[in-house]
């Protein structure tokens, strides 16, 4: 349903004129602007604090992450170092054993030679 709506001032009747007069804008309370500006400044400060807090949290998280990663890395290096050390010890033990066996072999060979010359 479409209604014809008067847009021309002369078509507005007395009742509407009275209504228009009754609906003039009212002055805002003087405290409104002050409260708006105050709240705005409070919110900005809060927002600033909140963003600062997020940055601090992010920095703390990164630090904790770096410490954990560093600890993990250090442990891997340490494990590798210990493995390397154990390997060297085994190699030394094998070299010693090898030397002992060689000596024993040499002695046996000398013993065999002495037996055969008798």
């Amino acid at each position: 349903m479409d209604f014809e709506w008067p847009d021309q001032p002369e078509q507005i009747d007395e009742f509407e004129k009275e209504l228009k007069q009754a609906m003039e804008r009212r002055p805002a309370p003087p405290s409104l602007k002050r409260r708006v500006m105050q709240q705005r400044s409070t919110r900005r400060t809060e927002r600033h604090h909140t963003s600062m807090m997020w940055w601090q949290r992010l920095a703390a998280s990164l630090l904790v992450g770096a410490v954990i990663a560093g600890g993990f890395g250090w442990r891997q290096i340490e494990d590798r170092r210990k493995g390397e050390e154990a390997k060297q010890q085994v190699l030394t033990a094998l070299r010693v054993t090898n030397q002992v066996l060689k000596n024993m072999n040499r002695k046996l060979a000398e013993h065999d030679r002495a037996e055969s010359s008798k």
């Binding site: 479409d2 847009d7 009742f15 209504l19 804008r25 009212r26 309370p29 500006m37």
Partner: protein
Amino acid sequence: MAQKWQPDFEQLVDEHQSMVFSLAWRMTGDRGLAEEVAQDVFLQLDGNMNRIENPEHALNWLRRVTVNRSADALRRRRVRGVDLWVEIEEKHGAPAEEMQTPLGTRLEHLLSTLPEAQRAVLVLRYQEDMTPEEIAGVVDAPLATVKSNLHRGLKLLRAKATTHLKEYIRGL
């Protein structure tokens, strides 16, 4: 290239606080609630300053957000079960009404008894002097709906005025 409009928040508050407050008061019928709504509207504007393109946009943005915020405030009140119109006279009635004619005050009171959609379009029409096309843009409704609400609202208000304000409208 045209320079981008740089809105100044404080200036916008100065320019539009009367419009926002009056719109909120007539929509809610409660001075205290209207102050709260106006405050929220301006704080919302502060968060949206980078989206405001020009003074006209700012004015229409404020009108739209005020109407929506007022409707939300009324809805919240209704949920809480507060009888608004009993409170109006008792708590927040007086100071500004002193400036008005008795008929004006009574018309305003009758306006507050209209359904929300009709009240919104009548306030925009008679307080803000907007055309139905402009109102349709603000309340985000089809033009036919706005015209229908204007027609019905005015008819209902006239009927209420005839019943309640006989002594005043005899001459109209």
